[in-house]
C-alpha cells in the first residue's frame, strides 16, 4: 500500500514541478476551445445544433485526459533510459504494486488536467447542466485516464527508446482523438467513419462526459459505462502483463 502511495506521489510531484509541461499541455486545449469553439459556433448554431461550446467542451476535456494519460504511461521509457525504472524493479515489491502506483499517479495527473480544462471553459461561456452529475464527470474522466495510462504503459513496455514516440502520437493518439466524436456529432456520419467511431473506446468516454455535463448522451449512460469500463479493464490487464515482462 505504501509502495503504491509513494509511486503515486512521485508522479504528482513530477507533474507539478515540470512547469513547462503544465503550461504546454494547457495551451493546446485552450487553442482548440477558442479557435474551434468560436470558429464553428455560428455554423453549428445555424444548423440547429445549439451551442457548439456546450458540445465541444466535453470533447476537449477528453482530449486533455487522453493526451496526459498516454504521456504518463509512455514516461516509462524515460525512466528506463534514465535509470529510475531499475531502482523500482530491483526493490522487494511486486511489479503489480509498481504498475498500480504508476497508473494511479498518471491517471490522477490526467484528471487534474481535465478538471483545469473544465474550469477554463467556464471562462469562455460553458455552463454546467446539473451540479449533481459532477461525480459522473469524474467517473468518466477516471475511466478514460486509466484506460490510456494503461495503453501507454503497454506500448512503452515494448519500446526500447523514444524514437517511436512521434509515431504513436501521429498514428494512434491523434486518430483516437479526431475519430471519437469529440469534435462533431455522430448523426448521419458516412458509414466507414461511423464504424471507426463506434470501435474507438474514447467515443464512449466523450459521450459519457457529454451526458454527465448536461449536453446529452448519444449512446446512453449504460452503454458508455459498460463499453468504456470494459475496455479499461482489458487494457489494465494487458498493460500489467506487458509491464511484468519488462527485462532490463
Amino acid at each position: 500500500m505504501k509502495t503504491i502511495y509513494i509511486l503515486w506521489l512521485r508522479q504528482l510531484k513530477r507533474y507539478f514541478r515540470s512547469r513547462s509541461r503544465l503550461v504546454g499541455s494547457l495551451g493546446q486545449p485552450l487553442l482548440f476551445l477558442v479557435a474551434l469553439g468560436f470558429g464553428f459556433g455560428p455554423i453549428y448554431q445555424r444548423a440547429a445544433g445549439g451551442s457548439y461550446i456546450q458540445f465541444l467542451v466535453p470533447g476537449i476535456m477528453a482530449m486533455s485526459v487522453l493526451f496526459t494519460a498516454m504521456f504518463s504511461g509512455i514516461e516509462i521509457i524515460w525512466d528506463r533510459q534514465f535509470g529510475f525504472l531499475k531502482e523500482t524493479l530491483v526493490a522487494p515489491v511486486s511489479r503489480m504494486e509498481i504498475m498500480i502506483g504508476r497508473t494511479l499517479g498518471g491517471a490522477t495527473v490526467a484528471i487534474i488536467q481535465g478538471t483545469i480544462v473544465l474550469l477554463i471553459s467556464f471562462l469562455i461561456g460553458f455552463r454546467l447542466g446539473n451540479l449533481l452529475c459532477l461525480p459522473l464527470v469524474f467517473l468518466f474522466m477516471l475511466l478514460i485516464a486509466l484506460l490510456f495510462t494503461a495503453l501507454g504503459t503497454a506500448i512503452a513496455s515494448k519500446m526500447e527508446d523514444m524514437h517511436g514516440f512521434q509515431l504513436i502520437m501521429n498514428f494512434l493518439v491523434m486518430p483516437l482523438f479526431f475519430l471519437s466524436g469529440a469534435l462533431f456529432p455522430l448523426e448521419n456520419l458516412p458509414g466507414t467513419l461511423a464504424m471507426i467511431v463506434k470501435i474507438n473506446p474514447l467515443s464512449y468516454g466523450v459521450d459519457g462526459l457529454r451526458g454527465a455535463l448536461g449536453t446529452g448522451y448519444q449512446f446512453g449512460f449504460t452503454q458508455d459505462f459498460l463499453l468504456l469500463g470494459g475496455a479499461t479493464g482489458v487494457l489494465l490487464i494487458v498493460g500489467s502483463y506487458l509491464f511484468s515482462k519488462i527485462e532490463l
Binding site: 505504501k2 509513494i6 512521485r10 514541478r17 515540470s18 535509470g83 529510475f84 531499475k86 531502482e87 526493490a91
Partner: protein, 261 residues
C-alpha cells in the same frame, strides 16, 4: 554469502556468461575484473534478479534468486552502472522512496537517511533537485541510497566510471569503512586494475564470459609469473582491444592504455 555454480547465460545464441563458478565469503570485498563485454554486468544482473540465468545454481545470502526473489532483493543493495535516480526529485525524496520500497519504517527511515546523507557529505544539499547535481554527487547519493535498508551484500557495477580521482577516492573510502564497520560483503566490477588491487581481497578475472583466474592480487601475479596485477591481467586476457558495445569514454581509455605500452 554469494555462491555461484556453473552459471551460464545465453542471449540470442551468444554465451554472455559461460559456466562460471565462484564464492564470496561474508565480509569479503570481491572484485570482478574484466575487459568490456566480458560478462560482468550480465553476471550482476543475474545475481540481482534482474535477469534469469540459462543454467546454473546461485545462492545469495542463502536464498535462490529465482524462487526466493524477494528475500534475495532484501539482502542486497546496488549501485548500477548507469545513473538510476529520479532527477526531478530531491536527494531526500530519492532516499525516501527507496526506504518505502524496502519497507524501512518511518522513524528509522528518517534517522538512517540523515546518517547516510551525512556519511556521503550530501546532507546540506538534501533539498536540491538531482538535476542540479554533478555526476560525482549522483554517485555518492546512489551509494547512500543503496545502503539505506542495511543490506548484507552491496553490489557496485563500475562504481567509479567517469568520476574524477577525488570522488573515486571518496567512494572507495566510504565502501572500505562500510566493510570494516558493518561487515557488509562487497561485490564490485571494474576495469581499473589499481582499484581492484587496492580495495579487493579477492579478484576474479573474467573474459569472454569465463572466469580465467581467481585469487588475491598476489596469487594472480604468482600464477602468471608477472610483477603487477595489470601485467597479470594482460597476460590472462591478451592485448586485443574489445569493441563490443563500448561507450566512447571506455574506448578512449582502452586506446590510451594500449598506446602506453
Amino acid at each position: 554469502m554469494i555462491e555461484v555454480k556453473n552459471l551460464s547465460k545465453v542471449y540470442n545464441g551468444l554465451r554472455a556468461v559461460d559456466n562460471i563458478s565462484f564464492k564470496v565469503k561474508k565480509g569479503e570485498i570481491f572484485a570482478f575484473l574484466g575487459p568490456n563485454g566480458a560478462g560482468k554486468t550480465t553476471t550482476i544482473k543475474i545475481l540481482t534478479t534482474l535477469t534469469n540465468p540459462t543454467q546454473g545454481s546461485i545462492r545469495i545470502n542463502g536464498y535462490d534468486p529465482i524462487s526466493q526473489e524477494r528475500e534475495v532483493r532484501r539482502s542486497f543493495g546496488i549501485v548500477f552502472q548507469d545513473q538510476s535516480l529520479d532527477d526531478q526529485l530531491t536527494a531526500f525524496e530519492n532516499m525516501d522512496i527507496h526506504g518505502v520500497l524496502y519497507g524501512v519504517p518511518g522513524d528509522l527511515r528518517q534517522k538512517r537517511i540523515k546518517e547516510l546523507l551525512k556519511f556521503v557529505e550530501l546532507w546540506e544539499r538534501r533539498h536540491d533537485l538531482i538535476k542540479k547535481f554533478s555526476g560525482g554527487m549522483n554517485r555518492r547519493l546512489e551509494v547512500a541510497r543503496g545502503l539505506l535498508h542495511h543490506p548484507q551484500i552491496f553490489f557496485l557495477d563500475e562504481p567509479t566510471l567517469g568520476l574524477d580521482p577525488q570522488t573515486r577516492t571518496h567512494i572507495w573510502n566510504y565502501i572500505k569503512e562500510l566493510n570494516q564497520k558493518e561487515k557488509t560483503t562487497i561485490f564490485f566490477t571494474t576495469h581499473y586494475m589499481e582499484e581492484a588491487e587496492k580495495v579487493a581481497q579477492k579478484i576474479a578475472i573474467i573474459d569472454h564470459g569465463q572466469i580465467v583466474a581467481q585469487g588475491s592480487a598476489q596469487e594472480l601475479e604468482k600464477q602468471t609469473k608477472t610483477k603487477s596485477l595489470e601485467e597479470a591481467f594482460i597476460s590472462l586476457t591478451g592485448y586485443e582491444i574489445r569493441e563490443e558495445e563500448v561507450k566512447n569514454i571506455d574506448r578512449m581509455r582502452l586506446i590510451r592504455r594500449a598506446r602506453v605500452r
